[in-house]
Symmetry: C2
Subunit: 380 residues, 2 copies
């Protein structure tokens, strides 16, 4: 059975004429995907290992109970492929595991580590209904500290790479020319890009919120990058909470498990995402303007996004507007000076948690071309 | 249409030989029941009025949306009588109300102001599944500060009254003699009480966690006591959160509404309940002993209770055990020295969130008589 870890590092970069890469942040956030590694959690707690938090993307987290045979069923994956990865808890008293599971479920419920339940129809539309704990790994996984540091050090370099690529029109068009031929969606985006080149439209201020996913290859012991997300990077909100959850569980049970809560690294992904958004908002220099979250109409992971809105308001007093592309199409207005106004509110920053799939575009309407024509910051 | 407010004051008293009523606390927690008073929230914000939080006990809080005609449907009462009290929001822009409702729902979800949804079967048994925001009043109600203070001042007096009554065996038996004849449940409790008198069993240390409910009578302008709860006082956990929710909403929208968040009084009910439980636990003087929450098998209001457990652990490092009376019957053991052991753990304090109805007693078994024979603190 193959075994691998993955680690996701959220980071952001804000670039202006003078501020290019002055804010490259390699956040300590991570989560690890684990596929069937036997007994990973309880072997050791060596000083060169740290514990990484783990948040699985799954649809039926409520299947976490009951416990059988010392193993915790962690439910189906969100993709619904029926795979049921098992965390092996051999060596831990089953009664103790049940206690930890119970406490973890309570902690999640009290601290907003929740998602919409797909079995409740409105759970992706209306907040506060049909909630279920987010899926999570019960305990953090050991991860080599050196690889962790490596990923953190790589973050600003990848940020700069993405920023430079975004400015290199020829490279972008050339690299994606074959994709353009076979994929109508990419083709549409490249057409918008070409139009912007034609009118010589350039953004002086750019902000990227990225998430880089890595896996630790067991054979080569190398950290391998799986993908780098440059739009709609999910789980900065809930991921931080998983770190907090693990810290809380180890505070209570660490002694029994031989795990030290202090080895769970700090995970400031949410506050750093929010700091970057606030910095971009400040650059826009209109105190009445808001940050617009472009969202999908049905979003069961809305609480991950709501955490960012809540922190943005609480820490930086910046307000958020949530709109689908269809709503922006109906309610949006482009003023002659390039200001985008939606529902009567000037938009300083657009944060995309949608728009990366053709399904998010309801029609061939102006919504597709609103953003590049405006003066606002666009976060792809 | 009649109009009345009610206010609930949580308080606790811990009595020992030397400590009698040294901890009578009138907590600032309150919630108000309101029945059809026209436009109570937005008349004024005079200096002699404070705002009271409001947590309705309802079954279908998800009915809080949509908004129609400037009124918010706050759903059915928990009793399921189909009454749908309406809060009148005339004078507030409907779009603003919708925004506030949305923010309130998000806030509740992120901050653990949740209950189990009755439409989800397991929501009263397993934490973290089938959650829905707790029902709440969208905004605090004005309440005369003088009456508020009066209720707070009354709390320690009522606490002392209850404590004295609990020690006056003859008064108790005489007062309830007629009830004893017609009510088998009360009769059973009085029989246990009589047995304890016969063996001269007395508790040197007593702790009461009480909740006193008041209504403000609109005709007489008097504060009228509705009832005093001396067992299973609910909502110290969630009630505090409603105060926080209202404060948060007024911080954002108070200016538009003419309401000042600073006028929402501090509500330390949860931390004071927990402080009292910790104090009682300390009196038992066994660092390995735990506080046992006696709960109902199906409890959709479990998060209100979980907040107390969480705070008890977090603030005082005291652990909690949750058991139904049936489970105690099976797993409990009474040691010769009077120590109650449940699931291998010595019980220092019993906190009853069940046991006030015949349904909670599964049989005529020893569970009924466990507690009075032990040396532990009993919280009725």
């Amino acid at each position: 059975m193959g075994a691998s870890y993955s680690l996701c590092s959220h980071s952001s970069t804000l670039s202006t004429h003078t501020l290019l890469h002055s804010h490259p942040k390699a956040t300590a956030f991570s989560h690890i995907r684990q596929s069937g590694l036997p007994n990973p959690s309880f072997k050791l707690n060596p000083t060169n290992q740290i514990f990484q938090t783990h948040l699985r993307i799954m649809a039926q987290p409520s299947q976490v109970l009951p416990l059988q045979g010392g193993q915790v069923e962690v439910g189906e994956t969100q993709e619904g492929n029926g795979t049921r990865p098992l965390l092996d808890f051999h060596g831990i008293d089953q009664e103790l595991v049940e206690k930890i599971v119970y406490d973890a479920l309570v902690w999640s419920s009290l601290h907003g580590l929740v998602v919409g339940d797909k079995s409740v129809q409105r759970s992706g539309k209306v907040p506060g209904v049909g909630m279920v704990h987010a899926p999570f790994a019960l305990l953090p996984m050991p991860f080599p500290e050196s690889h962790w540091k490596q990923a953190c050090e790589l973050a600003p370099i990848f940020n700069e790479l993405v920023d430079r690529v975004s400015l290199d029109a020829k490279f972008l068009q050339d690299s994606l020319s074959r994709t353009k031929k076979s994929d109508a969606f990419t083709s549409g985006l490249l057409d918008i890009h070409s139009k912007m080149q034609e009118i010589n439209k350039k953004e002086d201020i750019r902000l990227g919120l990225h998430r880089s996913d890595y896996m630790l290859d067991e054979q080569t012991k190398l950290l391998l990058q799986i993908e780098m997300n440059t739009i709609s990077c999910s789980f900065p909100g809930l991921g931080c909470l998983v770190s907090d959850l693990h810290r809380s569980l180890l505070n209570h049970y660490g002694e029994f498990l031989g795990l030290d809560s202090k080895r769970v690294p700090n995970n400031p992904a949410a506050s750093q995402f929010v700091e970057a958004l606030a910095k971009a908002w400040t650059e826009y220099n209109n105190p009445r303007a808001v940050v617009m979250f472009v969202v999908q109409a049905d979003e069961r992971n809305m609480y991950d996004q709501h955490w960012l809105s809540a922190l943005l308001k609480e820490i930086h007093n910046v307000s958020t507007l949530r709109k689908t592309l269809a709503e922006i199409d109906t309610e949006g207005e482009l003023l002659p000076d390039g200001t985008l106004v939606v529902g009567g509110q000037a938009i300083a920053v657009v944060y995309f948690r949608a728009g990366y799939t053709p399904n998010d575009y309801p029609s061939e309407s102006v919504s597709k071309s609103y953003f590049p024509a405006t003066q606002i910051l666009i976060l792809f």
